[in-house]
Amino acid sequence: MAVKLYDKLKHSIRYWLLRRLPTCQQTVEKISESMERSLSLQERINLKLHLWICSWCQWYMEHLHIIRETTRAKADQPPDFIAGAGLSDETRERIRRRLTNQN
């Protein structure tokens, strides 16, 4: 009984907050900005509260950090975008000729 009441209360608080806080559309923009600058106290409070009641935006933030981490890890180990990535034989020879002429 008490558990049920607690759930109901929690649900009401969430609903009440969701109607008053910045929307998801505004929040995802803030999440991105939080990776670029320090947010003001008001912005931080709104973001924290929004994330508390919205698992979608929680995931969104987590995903942006996964993207950042994976991307940065590739900085020194660039991926092969095209099959057999590397210089084509033709380009390699062109550069070789250019370098020999320079020497």
């Binding site: 923009e29 991105s32 670029e36 600058r37 987590e62 993207i67 900085a75 590397g86 370098l99 020497n103």
Partner: protein
């Protein structure tokens, strides 16, 4: 008596071997950032030419590859700077898709996630993704539809971790433009990865 340093300086650089040892790596390094094969080839060639000229200053102070990558970085930034000067950011120009469709329009939930686009849990860690070459293919395809400047801003920020001021200077934009571009690039890329990679993997 020959001083060892003098002997080192007399050695002529072997540019052909540089090309064999580092050419592919430098090319991939440049393609990842420039997202354009021709521009990447040019950057690699310019790097070797500059390296030939600067060889005397190098003197084996760093590893050969680190030294060459250092030169390539400058060539890549030069390319961005040149490309952006030729196409200045005008009024109302494209910073990337807004993706309004990701969010609800009608009340009472206006501005909240639309069910079809709402983020879902990703069952993967960065460590796993880094090794998956098919993931990087999808990643690359997802960045392709973005306007060039937006993709470049994203690359400079997320791949190389440059500061806002440096990126703004290179791309000739204001910091507010940069934030909008980064936000749109992330919004687009995240959704595209979820649709084309994470949902398919499960």
């Amino acid at each position: 008596m020959n001083a060892p340093q003098g002997k080192f300086l007399d050695e002529s650089p072997d540019a052909g071997r540089w090309l064999d040892d580092h050419g592919d790596y430098l090319f991939k390094y440049a393609v990842f950032r420039l997202r354009d094969n021709t521009a990447a080839e040019d950057a690699v060639q310019e790097t070797f030419l500059a390296a030939l000229k600067a060889y005397k200053e190098f003197q084996g102070r760093a590893s050969e590859r680190t030294w060459l990558v250092g030169i390539l970085k400058h060539k890549i930034v030069d390319h961005f700077r040149r490309a952006m000067r030729e196409a200045p950011l005008g009024e109302g120009s494209d910073e990337g898709p807004e993706h309004r469709e990701f969010f609800e329009r009608p009340e009472p939930w206006q501005g909240h996630w639309n069910n079809n686009y709402a983020p879902n849990e990703w069952h993967a860690t960065p460590a796993e993704l880094i090794e998956r070459s098919d993931f990087w293919k999808v990643y690359n395809d997802c960045l392709s539809p973005l306007p060039q400047r937006t993709a470049s801003a994203f690359t400079l920020r997320e791949v190389d971790g440059l500061k806002s001021e440096e990126i703004c200077e290179i791309l000739s934009i204001k910091v507010n433009n940069l934030w909008v571009m980064l936000h749109r690039a992330r919004l687009h890329l995240r959704n595209c990865l979820e649709l084309n990679w994470f949902r398919r993997e499960q």
